[in-house]
């Protein structure tokens, strides 16, 4: 056998595609007329084209249709939109209520709710009497004190009741369903288990809403259909009372009479609210009754019951098509009065009530929140003024915040809902208002904080920034650390964006003074974190931040996860603008990284946060640049390896960095050879500690390449040996994952083969020692036939290349002699190569035949055939192997397969003239 002689330079020239200069970049957007023209061309040519380009698909009609469909849908929704939004808001509000006040397992039920305990028996008997009096039979006969049931029972009982009401309604027993509804509403009179009240409210109003809906539907039915079921009129969505027939009106009024005859105040109000929308059938001004209901609610002395009753008013009023928010303002004012009353009661009573009071306030808070939201729903500026005046906060339209103080919890929710414009243009007045509104119902500093947050929504619009910030700093100067942080945090963006450096200094100084000699609590840490992060993200340059007085001092006071988060921000900032070059910064950030690394919980390595930290540290190490101070950089790398031992990905980066460093030094000149050696040593020592043999393999090869570049042949030999060791131990260590990574290994081995072309053979260990080792590894491994075939091909190609008089490429370093120079004309060397290649050929066909997949087998044999034909001069022996391979391919692939056809023609072309005729026609 004989290798084919190759002239790589000539081959490259002949195979290179002819190049011609292009005037336009093919991907740049063409000018419109050309574009149109192109499209036209495409349309014409499309049928002739062999393949279909999905990007050119001119199915332009389909998307247009979709758009049309959406349009018609959205227009049909139009009217219902706001109602749907309100429904959704209410549903999420209810969920929020239940979540905010979770219910303990057991509830003690006072006698009021006896119907729940006694189950259905209590009201099986109903006289058909028309009057409601017996409804009022108060079930107070058994006042044996509180009973205890689980709340689950309570809820399921309520669900049963709902079903019963529904059932009775559908059985035409509407009186019964009304009676049951009243009983359900009556449950809300019991506020004894105050924490259960919000849940109770949600459950009962759910039932009442349902009752309201069925009554509405019934009356509407009466207004549209005659008794015999014929439709005599169709009420439009925005119908008027005058459109409604007498019959329906009478039924409707009768409902209001029934409800009006309920003895107790609370169920009477709730039931009327449930059927409130029905006033539309009777009067053109259905909202008028709202004002009366609001006034009636004043009769409920229990603060909790009355607050939630007002909440229900606000909810049901949304069902009316049009209403004035005046009645809601009355609600808020009445609630304010209750708060004032509670707070004055506090003065007379003893201190232990304070706790129950604050829990009462928090129970009432959702009601205020919801009502405020309703008041400011799409409120115009004009209206805002009116609202503020009516709430007693503003004196007039001009002086919106000139009035007296306000109950602080009310103020809080008002502030939440005020339009941004109003907040930013009246910030100073609001600050004064907050200052004079300091009572038990809400933490004053949270109102200061809220104002700050609201102001930040539109920083550019704030009028008198200086006044505000001065005032706020004055306020916080009397606070403790926690409050200081909460308030300042909200205003910090204003300070930063307006470049108020003096104030920033004052603030940082204030913090460090307050924080310096105390243990910092969780809340305070969160505040510090937020503040430091804001400062960090405001500045462009980390050095500016570090130079701020007290910044590092405050950072030092922090600990735990908050500190880690700030550290991560610093790291992120340090590396996002490119290389880090300043040695002091590097030192500082290195220390920060070390802290961060110490915080990484070894047990939770998989944790996302920790991965983020590891990524940031690695990124930092990669971005450090010591310029020409190579030694120092390497020292840094060594330090990093010691400091961040638990970060695996970092070690890879360290090896890459050290290799990069070596390359940089090499390009710099010859004088750094010893330095390059230290880099190599560093890499060599670091690689084994990296887990994963494939990673190691890659890194060894990379380092070997660098060593070769530096002319360190013995180093590269050693590194290649280590790489081979990796390969050797691969199957044993990671056998199960072999299949997944086989492509990776294959490409590494191929890379190794191409590297070997440059590596001078070492006669001391035997010529072709490395390819032989590879072969013996292949034989010992249980790799797939596909992989083995490809490695065999790689070795055949390698041998053929090494046999050439001139190698396609050489090591960059002048002192490294190529094999072509070392062994030129050495017949024993060529003989070795031939025998190596021949031994591969022997096994090749066997391996291919072991491949189970037919298509893969065919392609593999063609691949091998191509490789052989381009490596050897064809003689009989070679031809025999080739025709075997073609045979396999023919069996496996269709005769029209393009690869098969072109391989056959390639083989034909290379046949010596004598044998050409007979062989291939077989």
């Amino acid at each position: 056998m004989e290798f084919r002689a190759r002239n790589y330079i000539a081959e490259e020239q002949s195979h290179a595609l002819p190049r011609s200069r292009a005037a336009i970049h093919p991907l740049s957007s063409p000018s419109p007329p050309t574009h149109l023209r192109q499209v036209d061309d495409n349309v014409e040519n499309r049928n002739n084209e062999e393949f279909f380009d999905p990007l050119r698909a001119p199915d332009s009609n389909a998307p247009v249709k979709i758009v049309d469909g959406r349009d018609s849908e959205s227009s049909s929704y139009g009217n219902d939109d706001s109602a749907q939004v309100q429904m959704k808001e209410w549903t999420s509000f209810k969920r929020f209520l239940m979540q905010r006040f979770p219910v303990s397992k057991m509830i003690s039920i006072s006698s009021m709710s006896n119907m729940i305990v006694r189950g259905g028996k209590a009201y099986e008997k109903y006289s058909t009497s028309m009057h409601m009096e017996e409804l009022d039979d108060p079930q107070k006969s058994s006042e044996e004190g509180a009973k205890v049931i689980t709340w689950r029972e309570y809820v399921s009982r309520l669900h049963e009741l709902k079903e019963e009401i529904n059932g009775a309604w559908h059985n035409e027993d509407r009186v019964k369903s009304l009676k049951l509804s009243i009983k359900v509403a009556r449950l809300l009179m019991d506020t004894s288990v105050s924490n259960f009240y919000p849940t109770l409210f949600v459950l009962t109003t759910d039932v009442l809403d349902m009752v309201g809906n069925v009554v509405w539907e019934r009356i509407r039915q009466k207004a549209e259909f005659a008794e015999d079921g014929t439709k005599f009129c169709s009420l439009p969505e925005n119908f008027r009372a005058s459109d409604v027939c007498i019959d329906a009106k009478e039924t409707c009024y009768n409902w209001f009479c029934k409800v009006g005859s309920i003895r107790e105040l609370l169920p009477r109000i709730y039931l009327e609210l449930a059927i409130l929308p029905c006033w539309r059938f009777l009067t053109e001004q259905p909202a008028e009754s709202l004002q009366r209901l609001v006034m009636m609610t004043r009769g409920l002395a229990d603060p909790l019951a009355s607050a939630y009753c007002r909440l229900y008013i606000a909810h049901r009023a949304q069902k009316l098509p049009f209403y004035d928010t005046g009645y809601l303002i009355t609600c808020v004012n009445d609630i304010k009065l209750i708060f004032t009353q509670i707070s004055s009661a506090k003065e007379t009573a003893h201190g232990c009530l304070a706790d129950s009071k604050s829990s009462l306030v928090s129970l009432m808070e959702p009601a205020i929140e919801f009502i405020m939201k309703c008041i400011f729903n799409d409120a115009s500026l004009m209206r805002v003024g009116k609202v503020l005046v009516e709430l007693g906060i503003g004196r007039s339209q001009e002086e919106l915040f000139g009035g007296s103080s306000c109950v602080s919890i009310v103020l809080h929710h008002l502030l939440k809902e005020l339009p941004t414009d109003v907040v930013s243009s009246h910030a100073v007045d609001i600050l004064h208002l907050i200052k004079c509104s300091n009572d038990y119902s809400y933490d004053q500093c949270l109102n200061y904080r809220l104002l700050g947050l609201r102001l930040c929504e539109q920083i550019s619009q704030i009028g008198s920034v200086d006044d505000i910030v001065n005032e706020v700093i004055l306020v916080v100067s009397q606070c403790g650390l926690d409050e200081y942080l909460k308030v300042i945090d909200a205003y910090l963006d204003i300070v930063l964006q307006n470049q108020m450096d003096g104030h920033l200094k004052t603030i940082l100084e204030g913090i460090s003074e307050l924080a310096c000699d105390q243990v910092i609590a969780e809340d305070e840490l969160a505040g510090l974190q937020s503040i430091l992060v804001k400062v960090l993200s405001h500045f462009e340059d980390l050095e500016d931040v570090f130079s701020l007085n007290h910044f590092l001092q405050i950072l030092d006071l922090m600990h735990g996860s908050s500190r880690s988060i700030v550290n991560m921000h610093i790291l992120d900032m340090a590396t996002r603008n490119g290389y880090v070059r300043d040695p002091t910064s590097i030192q500082l950030i290195f220390e920060i990284s070390q802290e961060l690394h110490n915080d990484i919980d070894i047990a939770n390595k998989k944790n996302d946060d920790n991965q983020q930290q590891a990524r940031l540290i690695s990124h930092f190490v990669r971005m450090v640049d010591h310029g020409t101070e190579y030694e120092q950089h390497l020292a840094f790398l060594v330090e990093c390896r010691g400091a961040f031992s638990s970060i695996i990905e970092l070690k890879e980066i360290l090896v890459h960095s050290s290799n990069f460093l070596a390359t940089k030094a090499l390009k710099d000149g010859k004088k750094h050879l010893s330095f390059v050696k230290s880099c190599m040593a560093f890499s060599e020592v670091t690689i084994p500690s990296i887990s994963g043999h494939i990673k190691q393999l890659h890194l060894y090869l990379e380092t070997a390449e660098v060593a070769l570049l530096g002319g360190l042949v013995s180093h590269s030999d050693g590194l290649i040996d280590s790489a081979l060791d990796c390969l050797q131990s691969f199957d044993r260590m990671e056998g199960s994952r072999a299949a997944v990574d086989s492509d990776g290994i294959l490409s590494s081995i191929r890379k190794l083969c191409s590297l070997l072309i440059m590596v001078p053979d070492n006669p001391e260990v035997g010529i072709l020692h490395i390819p032989k080792s590879i072969l013996s590894i292949i034989h010992s491994q249980s790799w797939s036939p596909r992989m083995k075939t490809r490695i065999f091909c790689a070795i055949v190609s390698l041998s053929a290349t090494l046999s050439q008089g001139r190698l396609p490429y050489h090591a960059f370093h002048p002192e490294v002699m190529g094999n072509d120079l070392l062994f030129f004309g050495n017949s024993s060397y060529v003989h070795e190569l031939i025998s190596l290649a021949a031994s591969v050929l022997e096994n090749l066909v066997d391996v291919i035949e072991r491949e189970p997949s037919q298509a893969a087998r065919g392609n593999m044999s063609l691949e091998a055939c191509n490789c052989i034909v381009s490596s050897f001069k064809i003689n009989e022996h070679v031809l025999l192997v080739c025709s075997k391979l073609i045979e396999i391919a023919k069996l496996c692939l269709s005769a029209k397969d393009k690869y098969l056809i072109s391989t056959i023609s390639f083989l034909d072309k290379n046949l010596p003239a004598a044998t050409a005729a007979s062989s291939i026609t077989v």
Binding site: A241, G260, E284, M295, G299
Partner: protein, 341 residues
């Protein structure tokens, strides 16, 4: 043989004015044909008086029922003798209760259901079937309201009566701590009220040392019957409406809004042999241990822990725009029938 006979009136609420035609139909459902000797309808109205409790003595109670006062008694011959075919047969009828030309001296009092006095109008259908068969009959109550001719000439005065309730205005004994601590509840309430309007007013708790338990408005009827030389009067409760639950805020105005129950109220009547009047009582119950010891009994009896003010209430019928589409809901203060719910 099942035969069902039913009366149906043209108005689902069954309310008619005396001069209006009372229209409706007789619905007979029968499996077989029925021969009869005539179909006749009777329309009767009367004031039924009963003496019981109240200021009546033992002897009066013993006599019990006083002779009813007839208002209306009309017979309408629907059909002469004949046959009703099997299946469902509907026979319409129409009658004007009060013929303005007739010299009808008795007034058409409005329908009222009280404890001692009830004013009721009934329509009865009889299908006479000779001596061998029981006659088929059905009865239906219809409701009469005063017609326009009887309406009050005076307009309803919008004025309200102002009341004060303090420890000194109480005519019954009250708890010593109430007496010494004192309380003051003021308000105003209408004492003349249209049947179409809710009873309205307002109330303010100005001061009270004892916490308040509840504030209720009681609607009372005062029925008087002339029995011989004696007038027997009884006051009873029609309806209670709570307007304050618990110890409400001081100096906050609470609305009084009481929907008048229908059938159980009527315009105030002062006739010779009987009278129907109304009162409204504002009752304040204070929180007291004593109240728990007493089971809930008659709510209008004065108690140690309650304070009250009772005011006369005149109910009047104002004209109603029955057929127009008036905006005010008050025009529909009718139809107290369960079937209409």
């Amino acid at each position: 043989m099942s035969t069902k006979i039913e009366l149906k009136l043209s108005r689902p609420n069954r309310i008619y004015l005396p001069y209006e035609p009372l229209e409706g139909k007789i619905v007979v459902k029968s499996a077989s044909s029925i021969s009869h000797s005539g179909i006749r309808m009777a329309f009767n109205g009367s004031v039924n008086l009963q003496v019981r409790g109240g200021s009546a003595g033992v002897i009066e109670s013993f006599y019990g029922v006083v002779k009813p006062i007839p208002i209306l008694s009309k017979i309408l011959e629907i059909k002469p003798s004949g046959k009703i075919v099997s299946g469902t047969t509907e026979i319409p009828f129409s009658i004007t209760l009060r013929n303005p030309k007739e010299d009808n001296l008795e007034r058409f009092y409005e329908t009222f259901h009280g404890t001692n006095i009830s004013i009721q109008y009934l329509a009865t259908i009889d299908i006479l079937r000779g001596y061998l068969h029981k006659s088929l009959s059905a009865t239906l109550e219809f409701i009469v309201e005063s017609d326009k001719a009887d309406l009050h000439d005076q307009p309803i005065s919008p004025e309200m009566v102002i009341f004060y309730i303090t420890q000194d205005t109480q005519r019954h004994p009250i708890l010593p701590e109430l007496k010494s601590g004192g309380f003051r509840i003021t308000g105003r309430i209408s004492t003349q009220c249209s049947m179409l309007e809710p009873l309205s007013g307002e109330l303010t708790v100005e001061a009270s040392t004892l916490p308040i338990c509840s504030v209720d408005i009681h609607l009372l009827r005062v029925e008087s019957i002339l029995l011989g030389e004696k007038i027997i009067t009884e006051t009873s409760l029609i309806q209670t409406t709570q307007i304050a639950d618990g110890d409400v805020c001081r100096n906050m105005t609470l609305p009084i809004y009481v929907v008048l129950p229908r059938l159980f109220t009527c315009p105030t009547v002062l006739a010779g042999p009987f009278s129907i009047e109304f009162k409204v009582a504002v009752v304040i119950s204070f929180q007291s241990e004593l109240s728990r010891l007493h089971p809930k009994s008659d709510p209008i009896t004065p108690r140690l822990w309650t304070a009250m003010e009772t005011l006369p209430l005149e109910l009047v019928r104002t004209s109603r725009a029955y057929d127009s589409n008036a905006d005010v809901p008050n025009a529909y203060a009718y139809a107290a029938l369960a079937s209409l719910v």
